[in-house]
């Protein structure tokens, strides 16, 4: 039985506890939060054996094999380091760390201690993302991706988070180097990092404060971001983050030399984009029919998964946790390669470095910036 602990008992800890209790062969032996009331409420609502307010005490008394870190991002590095030093396997919620250098140190420490490490990029393991990965691995694109487009939107109108953030000048998100972007964009960047062959792509970032935020006198939170990523072997990517675009979307377009793919996370839709054209007018009649067939196929797949009790909102998180635990038990490769974690962190560093505090937060553009490789 794998002994699991959760450190940080806020909102995302609930999702972890919910998914962990669905996985066989593990138990939550302890939860921890500096605020005793928060630790206790999680302990009360889930089958958890003990709660603590001190991490050292938890590690000493509960002896977990795995620690899930679900605290605010600024504490990820120190807590993960402490747990790794105590020979625990560690699952860190996104964003992995504040800086790429911290990510490198954690990966290095995990390898030296021969323990496993992963990050909460659970969108990478949704049903539709797994289907897409399988197609790419089967060679559907006809080679390495030529170009990618990753869209990630965020609704600032969400009362549970954004209002608290905008209204509170001391909110922890404001203290992050990349502020709101740092806490949100890693899912969208990780999608690109998975398919970028180079460890040192060039990054050009352009961000600005949306007109909506300007209207309410917000000058610090950059909520619109456009990024171009390119690398020597010719693969390029666009990343778009927006709080204003409608409809809301979490989408990846992947174009290879032969075919393309569209992954629509919100609707769990995967579409194959056929590279070859049909002749003459057939190209205007047959593709719509083929798209209709694909949409129907997605519908049937989603219904089948729902009826089979395998279509939970956090199904990607369950799959990631399950895969991570399996890699611990079998000493097999981790579900998210360390290279991908590090590349995501480096691309984010490169984006945020182009938003340095000595420039206007309202609008900036930057020169191409190579991501330093290891």
């Amino acid at each position: 039985m794998l002994r699991v602990a959760i450190v940080g008992c806020g909102k995302i800890a609930d999702s972890h506890a919910l998914q962990i209790q669905r996985i066989e062969g593990c138990e939550i032996v302890a939860v921890c939060d500096r605020e005793p009331l928060m630790a206790k409420q999680l302990y009360e609502r889930f089958p958890v054996k003990q709660y603590f307010t001190d991490l050292a005490e938890l590690l000493d008394r509960a002896r977990p094999d795995v620690v899930h870190i679900t605290t605010p991002a600024e504490s990820h590095f120190d807590i993960a380091k402490f747990c790794l030093e105590h020979d625990c396997h560690v699952y860190v919620e996104k964003p992995f760390t504040l800086y790429a250098e911290q990510a490198e140190r954690l990966v290095d420490l995990a390898e030296r201690k021969r323990v496993k490490l992963t990050v909460g990029h659970n969108d990478q393991f949704s049903h539709v993302a797994r289907r897409m990965r399988a197609l790419v691995q089967s060679g559907y694109l006809g080679g390495a991706p030529v170009h990618m487009e990753s869209y990630y939107t965020y609704d600032l109108g969400d009362p549970s988070y954004a209002r608290a953030l905008l209204g509170d000048e001391n909110h922890w998100v404001r203290r992050l180097p990349g502020k709101l972007l740092q806490n949100v964009i890693s899912h969208g960047i990780a999608r690109i990092a998975e398919f970028i062959p180079s460890d040192s792509p060039q990054v050009i970032a352009h961000g600005f404060v949306s007109s909506l935020l300007k209207q309410i006198d917000e000058r610090e939170i950059v909520d619109e971001l456009r990024v171009i990523i390119s690398e020597e072997q010719g693969t390029t990517a666009y990343f778009t983050f927006s709080s204003q675009m409608k409809p809301p979307m979490h989408l990846l377009r992947l174009y290879g030399p032969k075919n393309g793919l569209i992954l629509d996370q919100d609707h769990e839709i995967l579409l194959r984009l056929r590279g070859q054209k049909f002749k003459s007018y057939a190209d205007m009649f047959i593709p719509p029919a083929l798209f209709a067939k694909q949409h129907l196929g997605n519908l049937f797949t989603n219904v089948r998964l729902f009826l089979g009790r395998d279509f939970h909102m956090d199904s990607g998180m369950k799959y990631l946790i399950e895969s991570f635990y399996r890699s611990i038990r079998d000493d097999s490769p981790v579900p998210i390669p360390y290279r991908e974690i590090l590349l995501t962190a480096r691309i984010m560093d490169a984006i945020f470095s182009q938003m340095s505090s000595d420039r206007s937060h309202e609008r900036f553009a930057a020169l191409p910036q190579p991501v330093p490789s290891e």
Binding site: K11, L42, S160
Partner: protein
């Protein structure tokens, strides 16, 4: 009223004489959530009763137009301090609670759907506020504004009265409502401080507070699945007009000899769910509603609950039998205790309150 007695009186009626009140006109009163729907009415009510030293605690992001309007027309000798802050900050709590004789704690959790968010902003915030007030030793009453959501209402036949003697939800974590969980734990916390630290407290549990445009209370029905499902039927809806509710809350902070008590707040002559919906659709906005009889809504809640468990949460357990008992079971309500111990009477009649409410709901097309 004898000439020698100072009174803390509401303008309309309900004189509250000094010998019945635990505070004088210059004692410091703190109202958290003062910028909210009920909070601003509480502020106005306090001023109407002659209280002259009020601190309004508001979030930095709060819309202050209502408070500012009240400040604009305040009596010349009244001091109103608006203090912006976060109840999760102990420093902010200390600054707000300093020398407060009465604390009206109305600020509520904002993360209705998230258990940790609701808990943090309700329970942890309340703990911070009480701890801060204990440092000054000046507190004479802590009024916690809670909710009907804390009652379980199970193990009672249909149509029985729900009053302050009814049991509180034993397992609020199973109700599927973050708000209920947070409110039950918040009440427990305050009671523990009362027992262990001698904090003099009163719990106020309003029913469905109405008076401004907003969603129709879930006790009438829900629109989550497209057409409006009318679930209340002939049930009485425990409405209380915001002015009546504010009046009850203010009295709970002033009247002597009620420490440790809980008070339900509902108005007189409550309409049934069907009567309310008919009135609303006739005068505010027409929309299609489908009546779901109680037996069917109970069965649906039961099935949802079972499916949620069987599917390991593929559908969250937001509909379940516990919730049905609380919101849609036929129940009667009482305000006897409120009238007897606080001398409260609803100043806004239900017919007048509904008329005003319907007026606010008219302009645009949303279920108000």
């Amino acid at each position: 009223m004898s000439k020698s007695t100072t009174s803390i009186a509401s303008k309309e009626d309900g004189l509250l004489q000094q010998d019945r009140s635990i505070v004088g006109p210059d004692d410091r009163i703190l109202v958290t959530g003062a910028a909210g729907f009920i909070g601003s009415r509480v502020l106005q009510n306090l001023l109407d009763r002659g209280l002259r030293n009020v601190v309004c605690f508001v979030r930095p992001s709060s819309e202050l137009s209502e408070i500012e309007a009240i400040i604009e027309r305040r009596p010349p000798d009244a001091r109103i301090e608006v203090r912006k802050g976060n109840l999760l900050s102990r420093e902010d709590c200390e600054a707000a609670a300093k020398d407060a004789a009465v604390i009206y704690h109305l600020a509520a959790g904002t993360g209705e759907k998230s258990f940790p968010d609701a808990f943090l902003n309700s329970v942890v915030a309340t703990r911070n506020l009480i701890e801060a007030s204990l440092r000054f030793g000046n507190l004479r009453r802590f009024v916690l504004v809670s909710s009907f959501a804390v009652y379980s209402n199970r193990d009672k036949p249909n149509g029985r009265i729900l009053d302050e003697s009814c049991p509180i939800e034993e397992h609020p974590e199973l109700r599927g409502e973050a708000y209920c969980f947070a409110k039950v734990r918040q009440e427990q916390l305050v009671s523990e401080y009362g027992k262990n630290s001698g904090v003099p407290f009163v719990l106020v549990r309003p029913g469905s507070v109405y008076g401004k445009k907003g969603d129709i209370t879930g006790r009438v029905g829900i629109a989550a699945f497209g057409p409006f499902l009318h679930l209340g039927g002939s049930n009485k809806i425990p409405f209380t007009h915001v002015d009546n509710c504010a009046d009850a809350i203010v009295l709970a902070g002033l009247v002597k000899g009620i420490d440790g008590e809980a008070f339900n707040v509902v108005d007189d002559n409550l309409p049934s769910s069907r009567q309310f919906l008919r009135l609303y659709k006739k005068n505010a906005r027409k929309f299609r509603s489908i009546y779901v009889p109680h037996a069917i809504s109970y069965a649906l809640c039961y099935l949802w609950e079972k499916y949620s468990k069987w599917s390991q949460g593929q559908l969250p357990p937001v509909f379940n039998r516990r919730r049905w008992h609380t919101e849609w079971k036929k129940t009667r309500y009482s305000n006897k205790k409120l009238k007897a111990k606080l001398g409260w009477t609803p100043k806004v009649s239900t017919s007048e309150g509904m008329r005003r409410y319907i007026e606010t709901c008219k302009p645009d097309g949303r279920y108000a």
